[in-house]
C-alpha cells in the first residue's frame, strides 16, 4: 500500500515537473522579446574609396552631378562608425523566418540603396527602381545553395518580390552599369545592418545567451557573446580594421 502511494507520488511529481517545464518553455518563447544593440567602429584611417566613372550612361552622370558617388566597400562616418556591417545570431535555433518586414532594395541614382540588405531565410524583399534609366538586377548566388535569376527593370518597372531559401552571402550586380554592386546577406534568424553612424539594433531576440556575429564585406567576421534578458536589451560593440 505504502509502496503504491510512493509510486503515485513519484508519478505525479514527474507529471507536475513536466508540466512546469512545458509552461516555462512556453514562457521563454512567448516572453517579451529583447534586443541586441551596439555600435561598430572602424579602427584607424579609413581607406580611400575610389570615385565612380559613370560616363557609360549620361543619365547616371546627370543624376549624380552635384554629389559624385564613390565605391562603398568601406563606408566610415565622421564619428568613426562603420556602415554596412551585418549583425546576426550565430547558430540561430529559434523560429524560422522571424523577420516579417518587407525591406526594399532600391536602384537609385545608379547605385544600390541600401548597399547591403540583411535578410532572414525566406524573408520577402522588394526590388524597386527610382531611375529613369534601365537596370538589370542580377544576383549571383552559388547555384548549389540558392537559385539565381536575372530580371530587367527599365524606367517605371513594377517592383519585384523575392526571397532566398538558404543562408548565403549573395553578390548582386547590374550588367548595364558594372559599378553597381551590392550584397544580399541571408542568415537564419533576426538580422540588422549598421546605419550611417555604425549603430544597429537586432529586434525579436528571445531571452537567452547568444553569439552575435558581425560580417563586413567581402568576408571579415567577428563574434561576441551576449545575454539577453526578457524584454531587455544587451549590448555588443565591434571594431573592424579592414
Amino acid at each position: 500500500m505504502k509502496r503504491q502511494r510512493n509510486f503515485v507520488a513519484l508519478v505525479s511529481t514527474i507529471v507536475l515537473l513536466c508540466c512546469g517545464a512545458l509552461l516555462l518553455n512556453q514562457k521563454v518563447s512567448a516572453a517579451g522579446e529583447g534586443k541586441i544593440t551596439g555600435n561598430v567602429k572602424f579602427e584607424g584611417a579609413p581607406p580611400h574609396m575610389r570615385g565612380i566613372d559613370m560616363s557609360k550612361d549620361p543619365w547616371c552622370v546627370k543624376a549624380n552631378a552635384d554629389h559624385p558617388q564613390h565605391l562603398e566597400n568601406v563606408v566610415v562616418a565622421t564619428n568613426g562608425g562603420l556602415e554596412n556591417v551585418v549583425l546576426y545570431i550565430d547558430g540561430w535555433s529559434g523560429d524560422a523566418t522571424v523577420e516579417k518586414t518587407v525591406p526594399v532594395f532600391d536602384q537609385k541614382n545608379c547605385m544600390y540603396t541600401p548597399h547591403i540588405l540583411g535578410l532572414d531565410v525566406n524573408q520577402t524583399f522588394k526590388v524597386t527602381t527610382s531611375d529613369q534609366t534601365a537596370h538589370n538586377i542580377h544576383p549571383l548566388p552559388n547555384p548549389m545553395i540558392n537559385v539565381g535569376w536575372n530580371q530587367s527593370q527599365p524606367p517605371g518597372a513594377p517592383p519585384i518580390e523575392k526571397s532566398w531559401k538558404n543562408p548565403e552571402v549573395i553578390p548582386v550586380q547590374c550588367n548595364i552599369h558594372p559599378w553597381m554592386h551590392g550584397y544580399f546577406v541571408v542568415v537564419k534568424g533576426p538580422v540588422a545592418v549598421t546605419d550611417d553612424s555604425g549603430n544597429y539594433t537586432i529586434e525579436n531576440v528571445p531571452p537567452g545567451t547568444y553569439t552575435v556575429k558581425a560580417w563586413h564585406e567581402p568576408d571579415t567576421t567577428q563574434t561576441a557573446k551576449v545575454t539577453v534578458s526578457a524584454g531587455g536589451s544587451a549590448t555588443a560593440n565591434f571594431s573592424f580594421n579592414k
Binding site: 538589370n136 547555384p143 548549389m144 536575372n150 530580371q151 548595364i176
Partner: protein, 287 residues
C-alpha cells in the same frame, strides 16, 4: 631577359590561381552524381535513361563538359571567351536556353532542343546526327549531374500567343519597345552589339561575354525562329547578363519587338521587306 621571363611566369601563375575558383565553383563527388543514375527524361516520345547515354557522353561530350559534367574537360581550357564561350557546367543546373521563366529549370524539351540545335558562335556543334532516342538519353545524362533536377521541378513554360501578321504599325511599335526597355544599352541602337554597356559584360562566372550582334548574319544562341527570339527576351538567358523582360513587355508588344529585331537581321523576312519602305531611324541613345 631572365627577369622578364620570370615576371611572365609569375603573371601566368597568378592568372591561373585566380581563374581556378571560377571554374570550380561547384564540385560534386562521383558518388553523389552516381546516386542520380536513375534519372529519366521524357522527350520526343522516348523515355531517356542515364545508362544508355554513357557511351555517347564519354565519346562525344566529355572532351569539353568533362567526366563530372563540371565543364572541366581537357579541351575546356582552350576555349577562351568571349570568342569561344566556356562549356556549360551541368552541375550548377543553370541553362541559357529555356522556355521557362528566369531562375527555373528548363524542361526536357529545352535540353533536347539545345543538343539538337547546338550553339551558334560557340564550340558546341549541331548534334542532330544522333537519333532522337540517343538525344533523349543524353538529356537524362545532362540532368543527372545536377541535384537541382531531383529537388526542383522544371518551370512552367511561358505562354506565347499565336504570331500576328507583320504590319508597319507593329514594326514601329516594336521600335518603341526597343527604346523603352533600352535593349540598346548592350545591343546598340542598330543592333550591332555596340551599346555603351557592351564592352564590360561578364557572365556569371566572371568571363567576358559579347552581346548578340543582330546584323552580322549569325543566328541567335537559342534558335532563330520568331518564337525562339520571343522566348529569348521573355525568359532571359540565365548565367549571362541577358535578363528576363517578362515583367515589362506585354505578350502583344513582345511580338512587335520580334518584328523590329527582324529588321536588323540579314536573314530575309517579311518584317525586313516592310522596314525598307518605312525608312526608320535608329532609336535615340539619350532619351
Amino acid at each position: 631577359m631572365r627577369t622578364r621571363l620570370h615576371k611572365w611566369f609569375l603573371l601566368l601563375g597568378a592568372a591561373a590561381f585566380f581563374a581556378l575558383p571560377l571554374t570550380s565553383r561547384a564540385q560534386l563527388t562521383t558518388e553523389d552524381i552516381a546516386s542520380r543514375d536513375n534519372m529519366e527524361s521524357h522527350v520526343a516520345g522516348y523515355t531517356g535513361h542515364v545508362q544508355d547515354a554513357a557511351y555517347d557522353y564519354r565519346r562525344y561530350c566529355v572532351g569539353c563538359h568533362g567526366d563530372m559534367g563540371d565543364a572541366n574537360g581537357e579541351v575546356a581550357q582552350w576555349l577562351l571567351p568571349p570568342m569561344w564561350p566556356k562549356p556549360r557546367n551541368f552541375q550548377l543546373g543553370v541553362f541559357k536556353c529555356r522556355s521557362t521563366p528566369t531562375g527555373t529549370l528548363p524542361t526536357d524539351d529545352d535540353l533536347f532542343n539545345a543538343i539538337t540545335r547546338g550553339f551558334d558562335r560557340s564550340a558546341m556543334p549541331i548534334w542532330n546526327q544522333f537519333t532522337k532516342y540517343q538525344r533523349a538519353n543524353l538529356v537524362a545524362y545532362v540532368k543527372h549531374f545536377s541535384p537541382r533536377f531531383v529537388t526542383e521541378k522544371p518551370g512552367t513554360p511561358i505562354s506565347i500567343p499565336p504570331e500576328p501578321e507583320v504590319t508597319p504599325e507593329r514594326i514601329k511599335a516594336g521600335r518603341e519597345v526597343f527604346a523603352r526597355v533600352q535593349c540598346w544599352k548592350c545591343h546598340g541602337v542598330q543592333g550591332m552589339a555596340n551599346g555603351p554597356s557592351a564592352s564590360t559584360l561578364q557572365d556569371d562566372l566572371g568571363f567576358p561575354i559579347a552581346a548578340f550582334n543582330f546584323t552580322d548574319g549569325t543566328r541567335p544562341k537559342c534558335g532563330d525562329t520568331d518564337e525562339d527570339i520571343y522566348r529569348i527576351f521573355m525568359t532571359g538567358l540565365d548565367g549571362t547578363p541577358m535578363p528576363s523582360f517578362a515583367d515589362n513587355i506585354k505578350p502583344d508588344e513582345a511580338w512587335d519587338l520580334v518584328f523590329y529585331l527582324r529588321t536588323f537581321m540579314q536573314q530575309p523576312s517579311k518584317a525586313k521587306e516592310i522596314a525598307k519602305t518605312l525608312n526608320l531611324k535608329p532609336v535615340s541613345a539619350n532619351p
